[in-house]
Structure formats: C-alpha cells, structure tokens
C-alpha cells in the first residue's frame, strides 16, 4: 500500500527544497512547480475522499513508525511515534487543504518579487498544514503546528502590505502564546498517559506489538489502575488515541481523573482543558483573542489570506475536536456553556465589527470571526447535529472565505485600494465580478442551497437542542444570521449598486480575467454542490461524530 499520507506531507517539503536549491535562471518555473505539486496534492486528497470507508470506525490510511524511544529510568520510557491516520473529522479538513492550497497556488501567480523564497515557503506551509490534520501523535501534531508559523510569519512579513511587520509579529506572538499553552498541556499529558501496548512489551508480556489482544490491553489497564506496574516499565506516549482513553492514565499522575491536584477552585484537569481551549481559540480565532486576524489579513498578500482564512483557522476548530474534547470529555461538558457563550459572542461581535468596517478586506476578516463562532457553538453543544454542523461549517467557510479573499484580491490587484467608499456602481462595469461577489455574499450569509446554510443550520440546531446549554445562547448566536445579511448586503449596495463612480479610471477596472475565473468558478460550484447535496460531506462525518460522542456519556 502506498503511504499516501506521508506523500501528502513530504511531497511539498521535498519540492520546497528543490526550489531552494535550483539555480536562479529557473525562477520562472517556481510557480509552475508549486502549481504542479499542489495539483498532485489535490488529486491525492480527492483520492482519499473517494476511497474513504464511510462506515469504518477506526482511523484509516494509518501509518506508524517508531520514531524516538528513550529509556528514562525512573521516568519510564519515552516514546514518540510517527503516527498518521485520518477519520471522518480530519478527512474534510485534508480535502479542504488540498483545494485551498491549490487555489492559493494559482492565486500566487501574481507574486512577482522574491519568488524563490515565496514559493519555497508556500510549499513548506502546504506540507505542515496537511501534517497537522493527519498527525495522530500529539508531539507530531505540535511539531507541524509550530512549523506552520515559520512560513506564515515570513509570507506576511515579507510579501505583505505597508504594516506587514506589525501584523506578522502580532500574528506570530499571538499564535506562539497559544502554542505555549498547548505545549504545557502536552507535557502534562505525556507524563500521565501510557501506551498499553508498548508497556506490555516492556513488561515482557509479549514479544512484539503485533501479538497484542484487547484482553491484554484491559489487563494492562487493570494493572495500571492498581499501580502494579514499575515506573521503569511505563511507556509514556503522545499517541492521541491512547490519550482519549481514561484507562491509560497513570494512577498518581496529575491529569488522572481522580487526581486531587488543584489550583484554587480549578482542578488541574480543568486548567489543562481551558489552556487547550485558549490555545486553539487563538487560532480559530474567538473573542477576545481575535485581534491578530484582521491585521494579518489586511497586510497579507491575497493568496496568503486565502490560505489563512481557508485552512489555517480550521486548525483551531480541529484542535477542539481532535485533542481538547476527546481527552477531557468531562471538562468539555462542564464548560459547555462557557465555550458556547464565547462562540455566540464571537458570532455577534464579529458581525458587528464587520458592519463598522470601511476596508473590504477587514470586513471579510471580521466575517470570518463571526463564521468561526458557529464552529465553536456547534462543538460546544456536543450533539450529533452540532458537531457535524461544526465540521461542515469549517469546510464551507474554507471554500467561501477563500472565494471572498480572492474577490477582494481582484480589486486590490487592479487599484491597490480596498476602501469600500472608493467604489460605487461596479455592477454596471464589472458584471461577472459582481455576479461572483453577490453569489459568494449570499452563500456566506447562509442562504439555503449554498454550503453555508447547512453549517449554520446544524450548529445552531445542535446548540438549541442540547440540555447542556441555555437557550438564550443559541438565540444570541442566531442573531448573527440577521447581522450577516446586514453587512454583506450593505457592502453589496455601497460598492456595486447605483451609478458607476470610482476614484480610479474605468480602464483600471476590467472585468475578471481568465485566471481569476479559473479560481472562482470551481469554488462556486463546490459551494453550491455542498449546499444542495450535503451528504457529500455528512456521510463522511456522521460515523466518526457518533463515535466521538460516545466519549461524553
């Protein structure tokens, strides 16, 4: 079998190196190499989608290699695995990454200076983003998570707009603080969780990992609970699959469910959970740790904005579902209202801010805050509708925000001006452009028959119907759909309706060119297809989500 997930990660990394070492006179090929690589990635992602077994309960396309194994004496044995796999929650994200990175690569054709650096970093980013979504070992996840920062920092900081230094450093610091939180919890988890299979090998119960049986694992867990395993024989692990099982926690460890370690009124598990939530909320981003996003977007070049909104933000929501929630289910239930509240406030607050914006790109950046709030609300509900809806919303927002930022880029590339007041009545002069903008706006404001509707409908339905949350939170969040209509339609009216007027000459404002149509048209088709046939994605997520929900009973 082909190690397809590894190929997905390493193909772009290898070609990033290739671009780095190719002689200068190949510069014109860099964009084509990038396009080719992301194209192959997209094909592979689609292959994953089509060959994914929708009924299977375990991770698929798994790859595992022992990476680092260190005997640490009394601290037991340290083990980090190169462990990859996907399920119904990560597959949509991987597919989305394939789509967004490909479209971003086409959009990157407009980058003219320092191409070697740009395309090298772009491919580096591609590899690490996908790595994030397929890693099942927390250490590996964290590695990719951090790795992503580097290309992102430079992509904004070098190819960005006038305030690029400010924006990139703000992005960097915010995200770094977030990863610090995650790092703390990761170490704590590592010290608390053991790999029962490896432990069995260490104890000499079996010779080889392949001999393991479910009974043996139960037996090891039993011994662990009774504290009968010597510390030297405990094999600590970053394996997320083992972390999600409370029976793998060492009895006297800090993060064991029965641990009585507390700081003030908070148990250590609660603190660990909240740190993870904070870390991922920064990435999402949620109120009040969102202020890096508008700045980063405004300064970032179009393709980087597309990638940032289209796929990077999703890592926040994905982190909730893959790491924070399965490992700390009881905390998730306990803090459901808090998280839902942050989600609902993000929806409304983001929408209000979008309403006040004079810069089109900033308006869209804030609309992202609002739309990602739905994800948080849906996840917090811990219902099948809410969680499926949240994954759907992430996918849909990935497509739609990519379109939105491409559309802003269209104007920006023509006039270098994104102020809403600089344009009026564009509908009569750029009809195709206007058509795409109107379509994307309506899709984004959650009109049925577009993908946005499904995500919003089910996140709200889930949040409304769970006993965990008071009804007013959902009602508050639902106001987002009215405000959403408000800022999108107002913008449409200010820029596109009325008689044509612009600060710029009409000759500067031609309608969409072929390259722009090639990027936008397929995305529009996807937004409609996933709106009309939501089972395209829900079939993938349903089983995994029901599996996920069993952790919470």
């Amino acid at each position: 079998m082909m190690p397809i997930l590894s190929i997905l990660i390493f193909l772009p990394l290898i070609f990033a190196l290739v671009i780095a070492v190719l002689p200068q006179h190949y510069t014109t090929y860099f964009k084509w190499i990038t396009l080719g690589v992301t194209g192959v990635e997209l094909v592979l992602c689609s292959y994953l989608y089509f060959s994914f077994d929708k009924t299977a309960l375990s991770y698929q396309f798994q790859e595992q290699l022992d990476w680092i194994t260190l005997p640490l004496g009394a601290l037991g044995v340290g083990s980090i695995d190169y462990l990859l796999g996907i399920d119904g929650i990560s597959l949509p994200m991987v597919l989305l990454a394939g789509i967004v990175m490909f479209v971003g690569a086409i959009s990157s054709f407009e980058i003219k200076d320092k191409q070697r650096g740009y395309f090298g970093l772009y491919l580096l980013l591609t590899g690490s983003v996908i790595g994030c979504f397929v890693a099942l070992d927390m250490f590996l996840f964290y590695l990719f998570f951090e790795f992503m920062l580097l290309p992102m920092y430079f992509l904004i900081g070098i190819w960005g707009g006038p305030r690029k230094e400010y924006a990139s450093i703000k992005f960097f610091i915010y995200t770094l603080v977030g990863s610090l939180f995650i790092l703390l919890v990761m170490i704590g988890l590592y010290l608390s969780v053991i790999d029962p299979v490896e432990t069995a090998v260490q104890m000499g119960l079996i010779m080889d990992k392949s001999q393991v049986t479910p009974e043996l694992i139960t037996q090891i867990q039993q011994l662990l609970a009774e504290g009968k395993i010597l510390p030297e024989q405990l094999v600590h692990t970053f394996d997320l699959r083992f972390m999600a099982d409370a029976a793998n926690f060492v009895g006297d460890s800090w993060l064991h469910k029965a641990a009585e370690v507390a700081m003030g009124d908070f148990s250590i598990r609660a603190i660990a959970f909240l740190l993870l939530i904070a870390g991922f909320a920064i990435k999402l981003p949620a109120i009040p740790v969102h202020t890096w996003l508008p700045d980063a977007h405004v300064e970032a070049p179009t393709p980087v904005s597309v990638v940032l909104a289209g796929i990077l933000l999703k890592i926040g929501g994905y982190g909730f579902l893959r790491i924070a929630y399965p490992i700390f289910p009881e905390q998730a239930t306990h803090y459901a209202s808090l998280i839902a509240c942050i989600g609902a406030v993000s929806i409304v607050y983001g929408a209000y801010n979008a309403l006040a914006m004079k810069d089109l790109k900033k308006m869209i950046a804030y609309s992202s805050v609002s739309h990602m709030g739905f994800v948080m609300l849906g996840v917090a509900s811990i219902t099948s509708q809410g969680v499926n809806g949240a994954v759907y919303q992430m996918f849909s927002h990935g497509i739609l925000s990519a379109m939105l930022f491409l559309l802003v880029g269209v104007l920006y590339s023509r006039t270098h001006d994104r102020q809403i007041d600089s344009y009026q009545g564009l509908a009569s002069k750029m009809p195709v452009y206007t058509g795409f903008v109107a379509l994307t706006f309506f899709a984004s404001l959650g009109l049925p028959a577009f993908s946005g509707f499904i995500g919003e409908f089910f996140t709200l339905a889930g949040a409304f119907n769970t006993p965990l949350l008071p009804k007013w939170i959902t009602v508050l969040g639902a106001f987002g759909i009215v405000l959403g209509a408000g800022y999108f339609l107002w913008t449409l009216q200010r820029m596109f309706f009325g008689n044509f007027w612009s600060k710029y000459e009409l000759s500067l404002l031609p309608d969409l060119n072929v390259r722009e149509k090639i990027m936008l048209f397929p995305l529009a088709i996807l937004a409609i297809a996933f709106g009309i046939f939501p089972q395209l994605l829900l079939d993938v997520t349903n089983e995994t989500v029901s599996q996920f929900l069993t952790l919470f009973v």
């Binding site: 049925p448 009216q493 089972q535």
Partner: protein, 632 residues
C-alpha cells in the same frame, strides 16, 4: 419522473436557460421560454388537481440530509392545500409572465428578469410543495432572495437597492423566528416531516394551550410576520414597490407574501391547540389591517396605495386565521391573488402608458384612453371593496362573520378597515381614471392602451375577480361552500370550534358591510369626482393628514431605535473595545516584555567584578534560604 416533480423543474429549467444564456438567448425567445415554463407547471398542476383522489400524495425525491438520528428528505406533499396554492402560483404566475413580455420588452435586462422570475416560481413551488419544514424554509429563503434580486432589479437607483436590502433584512428577522421554531420542532418531535409532526400532535393528547406548542407556533408566526408583512415587520413591503410592476403583482401581492398564511394553515393542528398564539395572530392581523388601510388613505403613488392595501388585506387574512377561520382566510388568499394581481397589472398598464409616472396627482381621465385597463381596474376595485357579487365580498365577509362570533370589538375595527379600503380604492380609481388629465403635454400625447400581451392577462384576471366568489358560495345564497368542503380534510384533526353563524346574523353583517363600503365609495366620488379635489402637493399637508402621509413616521422611528444604535454599537465595538481595549492590552504586554528585557540585558554588562559580586550575593541568598530552618 412523476408529474409532481416536473412542476418545480420547469421553472428551474427556464431559470437555467435564461440565466446562463443571458444576452445569448434572443429576446424574442426569452419571454417565450419563461412563460412556457410557467404554463407547463400550471398544466401539470391542473392535471394533478383534476385527478386528485382526496388522499395526500408523498413524493420522495432524494434523501437530503442525515445527521445523527435526524433525517430530512427532499420530498413533496400534494394535498388540498398545496394543490390550491400550486394553482394560484402557477396560474397567476403564468399570466404575469405573459404580461411581462410586453411590460419589460424594452429593458436591457430582459433575459435576467425572466430568469429571476422563473427562479422565484421554482422556490415558491418548493415552499408550498415541500413535505417538511426544512424544505419549506429553503423555499422561504429562496423567494426572499428572488424578492431581493427583483426589488433591486434596477439597482442603478440607489434607493431601489436600499429597498431591496431592507426587504431582505426584515425578512431575515422573521426567518430567525422561523428557524428557532424549526429547532424547537426538531427538539420536541425529532422530525420535521409534516406527517410525523402532525401525527404526533394528533395522537399526543396535547391539551389546549400546551407550552411547547404555543412557543413553536409563536416562533413560526414571527417568520410569517416577516414574510407576510405584518406589524412590526411590514415596512419593507411598501418600499418593495421599487421593483418592476409585474414583480409587485406576482411576488408582493399574489404569492410570496401569502406564504405566512400558507404556513399557518399548514400547521393549523398546532395553532388550534395554542389559543394564546391565535389571539396574538388575530390582534396583530387586525392592527395591521386597520393601520395599513389608514396609511393607504392619503398616499399619492399608485403602487404605494396598492402596497398598503396589500399589507392591510394580509392583515385580514391573519385575523381570519386567528379566529380559526382557516378556509375563509385561504379563500381570501385566493380572491386577493386575483384582484390584487389585477390591480397591480392595471397600475402597470397605467404607468406604462404614462411614461413611468406613478403619481396619481398627475393622472386623471385615463378611462377614455385606456378602456380595457379602466374596466378591469374597476372590476378589481369593486372586488376588493367588498361589493357583491364580486370576489372580495364573499371572502372578506366570511372572515368578518367569523370574527364577529369571536369578538365583536374586533369585528367593529375590521369593519372600519373595510370602510377605509373602499375609500382609498375608489379614491385611487377616480383620481386615475376620472376627471381631467393633469399630466404634461408629452405624457398626454404618448397615452395609449397597452398591447395584447398585457391586456389579455388583465381580462383573464378580471373574469376571475368577478366570479371567484362563487368557488365558495355560502349556503345562504344557495351555494355549498365548495372550497371549504374541499379543504375540510386539512382540518380534520384540528379541534376547530365551528361556531356556526346564524343566517340572520350573517345577512345582517353582510348588509352592514356592503352599505358601509358603498357609502365610502360615494364619499370618494363626491370628493374626487364631483368636487374635483386633487391631493395637495408634497409638504403642503397638515395635521393628522401629514402624519399619515408620512406613514406615521415609522421608518424614521425604526431608523432611530434600531438602525442608528446598531451602527453606533458596531463602531463602538471596533473603535473602543477592539482597538482601545484588546489591542492596547496586547501591545502593552509586548512593550512590557520589551522594557523588561532591556533592563535585564543590563545585568550582562561584561564586567568581571560585577559578575563576582552577583555570584557572592547569590551564594549568600541561597545559603540564607537553605539555612533558614536552622536559624528559625
């Protein structure tokens, strides 16, 4: 493929052809394709109606959504209610499509117009055919989209664009209620299919006034208030007149705005168990009926008068629903679709002839130049005013008779509304078609009767407005209330208390309202024909008249109470909380780190003496720490 699935498919095809082929399909073909799509749907609907067995039919199109245990199917339900709605939508829709060929002929967006009109039909059909609330909601939002696109069809005019936006956002507020209602239905019944939900209500032994049902019905009614322009969400409909006139006739008079009534009749089993909601529905309906009629009294824009009249008539329908006179309300939906579509198309014909003039103060004496328009308009006016034997008389009187049984005060107000209706409609008729022509010479020279594509639909609708009352002729006139009988199975499980109105009361009520309507028509005649009064120029009104002419300043009120504060709040959120609050904190933390590290850097100054000093100091400190147990 069954006939049923074909019904929405034709307009969808029409939309795709005219939409994708915009500017490529020749104009002569555009109108034919668009109208043919509507007519084909009408033919299918008619054939279904004629072959209808009496038992509802379900057509499963495809499995749409499965999330966890919740299944939502894309499926259609054909029963008495959807059949009647189908006939109205496709029937009136076809006529309006044909009319539009003549009306929109010179417009550069001709193809786009027909594409949107077909798309509207598609969503409207989805709305009434869906067998569950989610499909209804899709149609519901879809018609909202088309309404937006068509109101803002001439969006080079900024005001028109604003009207479109207002319509969409106000509808969204209503949709919020609808959406929450659906969530509550999912939570409570675990399904959104009508058959499941209503089945569970019928067998669930719910008591009248059950809290959940009251909550569900109230939330759904919020949706209805938005779509059907009831107080307080009505102000978008008069503004929606910015759209081309056929749009006003089809969407904002005959079909879309009655979706709210459709929704309540569809859910009648729940409403009948929620008397509190019904009371709210009735009073909101009544308030809207009277309030809007009073605004209609002094408007001078031909379409604005008709718009307020629509709002007011929708109020009557809700009032009827509120007293559980479901079939009477539906009867009014039907007759209203005929005569209001006719009035709008007639107005369109006038506007067409007057070179886009809409102010009735500049009209007058048009009956000689536009004879067909005049006669059909006259028939519609009589019909809406409730003068027998035309359609509006029967339907409105049925509602009022039921209201009378429910609450006499409500009836009195209802009567007041109908007196006003008759007055403003005859005022409109007289100012437009009687007296001397008051427009410019150019306009007078250009006056002409509209082409056949426009007058033919007028004539068909005029016939329907004249005779539709006989579809549901009450028993006292020797009829057998055919419509009510046909619709009876829809209400089989509702606990409708049918308090029969005695014949003598019924006759008395009819006489009162006919006399009242005639009297106010005569008053209008005296004022506007005999005395030749012409409404004052803008700004010259005074007192109460000024307040009413300015629509009670409700738009200004909403602007001050909602729009401005929201806009202020959004600026506050961004400029103060985001910018001064969060960002300032973030940046100060950054600065703090920078300052501290600048200070800390000084410790490493490279002087050996300083390092030694530091080392000694540290050792002392450590020793002190280690020995503290020894000393204390």
């Amino acid at each position: 493929m069954s006939l049923i699935t074909l019904i929405p498919l034709f307009p969808l095809l029409g939309f795709l052809i005219n939409g994708i082929g915009f500017r490529k399909v020749p104009n002569s073909l555009v109108g034919i394709i668009g109208s043919a799509a509507a007519l084909a749907s009408f033919a299918c609907a008619l054939s279904l109606f004629l072959n209808f067995s009496g038992t509802p039919q379900l057509v499963h199109v495809f499995d749409w959504i499965t999330v966890g245990k919740l299944n939502i199917a894309m499926s259609f339900q054909i029963d008495q209610l959807s059949l009647l709605m189908l006939l109205i939508i496709t029937g009136v829709g076809s006529l309006i499509h044909i009319y539009s060929i003549g009306y929109m002929h010179h417009d550069e967006g001709f193809g786009k117009f027909f594409a949107f009109l077909n798309l509207f039909l598609f969503f409207m059909l989805l709305l009434v055919m869906g067998s569950n609330y989610v499909v209804m909601f899709i149609g519901w939002e879809g018609v909202g989209l088309c309404s937006y696109l068509l109101i803002g069809f001439w969006n080079k005019n900024v005001n028109y664009g604003a009207a479109a936006r207002k319509a969409f956002i106000m509808n969204r507020i209503g949709d919020l209620g609808f959406l929450l209602g659906i969530f509550l239905i999912i939570a409570h019944f675990g399904s959104v299919e009508y058959a499941d939900v209503f089945g569970k209500v019928a067998e669930g032994g719910y008591l009248s006034g059950d809290k959940t049902l009251v909550a569900i019905t109230l939330l759904l009614f919020v949706g209805a208030m938005g779509k059907s322009a009831q107080i307080p969400l009505y102000t978008w409909l008069p503004d929606a007149m910015a759209g081309p006139t056929p749009v006003s006739a089809l969407i904002h008079a005959a079909t879309m705005v009655t979706a709210g009534i459709y929704m309540i009749i569809r859910s009648n089993i729940m409403y009948s168990l929620a008397p509190e909601t019904l009371e709210v529905v009735a009073w909101v309906g009544l308030a809207t009926a009277v309030f809007a009629a009073s605004i209609g009294l002094f408007q001078n824009d031909i379409k604005k008068v008709l718009a307020y009249s629509t709002v007011s008539q929708l109020g009557y329908m809700f009032m009827g629903l509120g007293v559980m006179a479901y079939s009477s309300s539906f009867f009014h939906v039907m007759t209203h679709a005929f005569f209001k579509a006719l009035l709008f198309l007639g107005a369109g014909s006038v506007i067409h002839a007057m070179s886009d003039e809409q102010d009735i103060r500049s009209m007058g004496g048009l009956r000689k130049k536009l004879p067909i328009t005049f006669i059909t308009f006259l028939i519609a006016t009589i019909a809406i005013s409730g003068i027998p034997p035309f359609a509006g008389f029967f339907s409105k009187d049925e509602i009022l008779a039921h209201v009378y049984e429910h609450n006499k005060l409500m009836w009195a107000f209802g009567l007041l509304g109908s007196i006003m209706t008759s007055f403003y409609m005859f005022r409109l008729l007289f100012l437009t078609f009687f007296g001397e022509f008051r427009g410019t010479k150019e306009q007078e020279h250009h006056l002409h009767e509209s082409p056949l594509t426009m007058t033919a639909p007028l004539m068909v609708l005029a016939v329907l407005s004249a005779i539709a009352g006989f579809f549901n002729l009450p028993h006292i006139f020797g009829g057998h209330a055919g419509l009510a009988e046909f619709m009876a199975p829809l209400f089989a499980h509702s606990h409708v208390e049918t308090a029969e109105v005695s014949e003598s009361t019924e006759i008395m009520l009819m006489v009162i309202s006919v006399v009242a309507a005639l009297a106010s028509a005569i008053v209008a005649y005296v004022i506007y024909v005999s005395k030749k009064a012409v409404p004052a120029a803008d700004g010259a009104e005074s007192g109460l008249q000024k307040v009413i002419y300015n629509k009670y300043y409700i738009d200004e009120l909403y602007d001050a109470v909602f729009v401005k504060p929201i806009s202020a709040l959004s600026t506050f959120f961004h400029d103060v909380i985001d910018f001064l609050g969060i960002d300032l904190i973030v940046e100060s933390i950054g600065k703090l780190v920078k300052t501290l590290s600048a200070e800390a850097r000084l410790l490493q100054n490279g002087t050996t003496g300083f390092y030694l000093f530091a080392m000694v100091l540290s050792i002392v400190a450590l020793l002190a720490w280690g020995l503290q147990g020894f000393f204390f």
